[in-house]
């Protein structure tokens, strides 16, 4: 017989846990859900837009009654659980319904805090918590004129904004001298107050309420200082507290909330708790991302997978008021041990403050332009050392300009028709619609449904901004350490460490040892694991052919019409008449549609059928040419200028150095593509300062530059060091490449990698520590021994024949 799971609370956290459980094991439990409200499960975050008339209740339903039916869940809607008999393992509802359980999940949420002022129980005095409150407010807005909101925090301001949109005259009373003082400093608070007043809201600070006036219905509010305000409706939004009455009654250990461990179990291990009612490591949470993380961990444990742990969340705040962008996170007030970086432009209404301690971001407040909030938040969560970024950090990550959308960053003010994702042609309106109508909560969900930011990723910041803008106060970004993909809990670094530590030697071993959720991974994790394994064990690992993307299996680039392109290597950008003749002959013989000169100083042949590739390679190979690896996450090209052999400005033999670099590094697999260049003088004709590694020759020797990028986000290189000889260039290059190979995440270019780990880190390993540099170089050269075999020649001679032939020709 199936075990019985009873869920107390039909809100977002409880139902999310049920959904996660159904994904893992739909047959494991008979599930019963109790909910006080007579509805299915709805998105509480979206109550503000409903109040503001931007959405309807139907828009915000997450699971309608049909969903419970379809999944065999018994929904006891409108029934409040009043008692839990832990010995007999059953719950009792207010109407006498009894439900036995094997496991119980408490998701009772929170209750609004009501100040016991005289008059607090008059009709017309409400809180802002559920659909009923919203209905009351909407109803009042049709009949009455004056509203008073007590509480100038997040919820109060959203209620006030909503009532104002419904045509009411709204006054906000706030006890403190700064609005949202728990999320804002005084400067941002003042800017916020001004923006709200400009919208027509009346805001009274340091306003202490003495009494709510009225006899059969609220008539007004009397302040301590004697002022009296007319009020037809009073919304109390002074805070919430975890709803733990039921847990207390049944003697579960509670502090501010129901105390749970890292697997979301209360002190009674049969009873779990998630959501706003929970206290975990002395923290309570009211935002959606932490609740969902808790739900996932809880479901995992309920399904007896038992590998997930909740370790707390770092959260951030956004306000859902149309036209106002603000953001805060962490310790934004600072203390004696912190310093502040501040950018303020009153005329543009922009304010950014970063609170920094030991060169790490501790907190941030932003007003006006919040596009970089997700970047700052990442820096904070990842505890990134920002010493290398200090001179530019306040200008944001995008100050160099992203390809596709320039510097147009203020999502709140954008028209719905503005294109956000230039790769897939997705507009702001489409993204906002999808977030609302399809109930999306995370970046990954938006990517799956709209394709926005799923290609080059340059608009990720904008999409995250839209997500937080649409979701408002309750959105916060992904968990602390992102898992590699949907197949596993483990982030990249953990997987790499396990591969080294347990000496895992196959993709299958990794998945088994690390409890992969899927039998053989997916198109994201398999290529990554294959790379991590070959990087860790260059001499022992057998490449997993089927875990390679098609380009690396076919050793050519797949094109949109399923033909392939072929790009032979031209060492250091040099070629010969014989090579050109051979390329021309191939192009003639195979009727090549397009011959194109690439940006990396090579020649590409387009439109070849897959079955033609080995024949093409045979001809090129006979003429002495090898694969250019233009299809791989690998060393691509080394671009050069002609240098001092010809150029009157040249200071060194840049072409020769380029060829030497390419001879040393060709064939190496890297986390993402890796491009190099050598310029013969600081005029830099080879554009070395936007390459993964660039060498600029100077009279005294060579400047080595790293981590540039000319693509999606232009990033000029950082100077690693100066050296005197070609041999040193080769040594530093090998060491740097190996450090990148060993440390970066799969599909992470050098530019984002270095912004993650910091230039200082790379300098420490490659420049300052000679022994480390030598040992990195040695590891690089060892791994090169295994890979410097031309894949084209091998395949021209018959290797992997099945790849290039049809199984059968019919008819």
């Amino acid at each position: 017989m199936k075990e019985k799971l009873v869920v107390v609370g039909n809100g977002m956290a409880g139902i999310r846990a049920v959904e996660e459980l159904l994904k893992l094991d739909p047959q494991m439990y008979d599930i019963t859900v109790f909910g006080n409200e007579p509805h299915g499960n709805y998105n509480r975050i979206m109550l503000s837009p409903v109040l503001a008339g931007e959405k309807t209740i139907d828009d915000i339903m997450l699971n309608d009654l049909q969903w419970y039916d379809d999944n065999g869940i018994v929904l006891q809607a409108g029934k409040a659980v009043v008692d839990i008999d832990r010995r007999a393992r059953k719950v009792v509802a207010d109407d006498g319904t009894v439900a036995p359980y094997d496991r119980l999940l408490l998701a009772t949420g929170s209750l609004p805090f009501i100040i016991p002022l005289p008059g607090h129980d008059l009709p017309g005095v409400i809180s802002f918590r559920d659909i009923k409150d919203v209905d009351t407010m909407l109803d009042a807005s049709k009949k009455y004129k004056h509203a008073v909101v007590i509480g100038g925090g997040l919820l109060g301001l959203e209620a006030a904004n909503g009532l104002m949109s419904q045509g009411m005259k709204v006054t906000v009373l706030h006890l403190m001298d700064t609005l949202m003082e728990r999320q804002m400093d005084s400067i941002a608070g003042k800017m916020l107050k001004k923006s709200l007043q400009d919208k027509g809201m009346q805001v009274l600070l340091q306003a202490s309420t003495k009494e709510i006036i009225g006899s059969d219905r609220v008539k007004g509010v009397l302040l301590e200082d004697g002022r009296e305000l007319t009020a037809d409706i009073v919304v109390m939004a002074v805070g919430i507290r975890p709803n733990i009455e039921l847990a207390k009654k049944t003697h579960l250990h509670c502090e501010r909330g129901v105390v749970v461990n890292d697997t979301m179990q209360t002190f009674d291990p049969r009873i779990y708790a998630v959501g706003e009612c929970v206290e975990h490591r002395h923290q309570t949470y009211g935002l959606v991302a932490p609740l969902f993380e808790q739900a996932r961990v809880c479901a995992n444990h309920l399904a007896q997978h038992g590998i997930g742990r909740y370790e707390g969340s770092v959260t951030s705040t956004k306000l859902k008021v149309t036209g106002i962008d603000l953001f805060s996170a962490g310790n934004f007030s600072g203390d004696d041990d912190t310093e502040e970086l501040v950018f303020q432009d009153a005329a543009r209404g922009v304010y950014r403050k970063l609170v920094v301690k030991d060169n790490k971001v501790e907190g941030t407040v932003m007003f006006g332009d919040t596009i970089d909030s997700s970047w700052y938040f990442d820096l904070m969560r990842d505890e990134t050392d920002i010493s290398d970024l200090r001179d530019s950090i306040l200008f944001g990550q995008a100050h160099l300009g992203d390809a596709g959308h320039g510097d147009d960053n203020r999502v709140a003010l954008m028209a719905d028709t503005v294109e956000i994702c230039g790769c897939n042609g997705v507009s702001k309106g489409e993204i906002v619609d999808a977030i609302s109508s399809k109930k999306l909560f995370t970046l990954e969900e938006v990517r799956a449904h709209t394709k926005a930011s799923s290609s080059c990723g340059s608009c990720t910041g904008l999409v995250e901004a839209l997500l937080s803008h649409t979701m408002g106060g309750d959105y916060s970004t992904a968990p602390h350490l992102k898992p590699m993909c949907g197949c596993t809990e483990h982030p990249h670094d953990d997987v790499r460490e396990a591969i080294r530590e347990h000496k895992l030697l196959s993709v299958h071993d990794v998945m088994q040892t690390m409890n992969w959720d899927t039998p053989d991974g997916c198109s994201k994790c398999r290529p990554a694991l294959n790379y991590y394994l070959l990087c860790a064990w260059p001499e022992e690992y057998h490449d997993d052919y089927q875990s390679r993307f098609i380009n690396e299996r076919a050793h050519a680039n797949i094109q949109k019409d399923a033909t392939y392109s072929v790009i032979p290597r031209m060492w250091g950008g040099g070629t010969t008449p014989d090579e050109l003749r051979a390329i021309a002959d191939v192009a003639d013989e195979y009727d090549v549609k397009t011959v194109h000169v690439t940006g990396g100083q090579r020649i590409a042949l387009y439109g070849l059928k897959k079955c033609e590739l080995p024949g093409v390679w045979k001809k090129l190979s006979d003429a002495g040419m090898v694969s250019g690896h233009a299809y791989g996450k690998a060393l691509r090209t080394v671009k050069t200028c002609v240098g001092k052999e010809w150029c009157r400005f040249g200071t060194q033999d840049s072409t020769h150095l380029g060829v030497e670099l390419e001879k040393m590094t060709w064939g190496s697999w890297t986390p993402h593509k890796f491009k190099m260049a050598v310029s013969g003088c600081p005029r830099n004709c080879a554009e070395a300062t936007i390459k993964d590694l660039g060498v600029v020759c100077v009279d005294s020797g060579y400047e080595i530059h790293i981590a540039g990028n000319g693509g999606v986000k232009v990033r000029a290189t950082d100077l690693l060091c100066n050296v005197a000889t070609e041999a040193e260039v080769l040594e530093y290059c090998a060491a740097y490449m190996q450090l990148y190979r060993e440390q970066a995440h799969y599909l992470e270019r050098t530019a984002p990698w270095i912004e993650r780990v910091g230039l200082t880190y790379v300098k420490q390993h490659v420049v300052e520590d000679e022994a480390e540099r030598k040992s990195l170089m040695e590891r690089f050269l060892i791994s090169q021994k295994a890979v410097q075999v031309d894949p084209w020649t091998e395949r021209a001679e018959g290797k992997d024949e099945h790849e290039f032939t049809v199984l059968k020709q019919v008819g």
Binding site: S455, T518, D520, C522, S523, I550, A562, K808, V810, G811
Partner: protein, 119 residues
């Protein structure tokens, strides 16, 4: 070799053996009506789909096979090997074709199964 199953009128065409297809891989059977991709999963199940992703016609035979799915090499749509349907939230389908194994011998039919308008 061609054989007609009298009960279903399915015309089976022998296309090779199980071993001709790499595990977690695919091969192509070329027909006058277009290519058919024949997939083999980790536990040796075999499926056949029209070699064209419902999204932009990408050759599914070139994708990475995982579980009972293939990821299209062009834009990473996931297609169910058994039904040919795109995995939600994407929508669309690739026609699927009957497959059978007799011993090591592998047969397919070039007449698509019902249920997908894309032939």
């Amino acid at each position: 070799m061609q054989a007609v199953n009298i009960m279903t009128n399915t015309e089976w065409i022998e296309v090779g053996t199980l071993e001709d297809i790499p595990k977690l891989g695919a091969r192509v059977v070329s027909t006058p009506e277009g290519d058919i991709a024949v997939f083999r999963t980790a536990d040796d199940e075999v499926f056949a789909l029209r070699d064209a992703c419902p999204h932009k016609g990408g050759p599914l035979s070139q994708g990475i096979v995982h579980g009972k799915r293939v990821s299209c090499p062009l834009h990473d749509w996931k297609i169910q090997l058994d039904s040919g349907k795109a995995v939600a939230p994407d929508e669309g389908c690739a026609a699927s074709f009957p497959v059978k194994l007799e011993g090591e011998k592998l047969f397919i039919s070039t007449v698509p199964n019902e249920g997908c308008p894309n032939k």
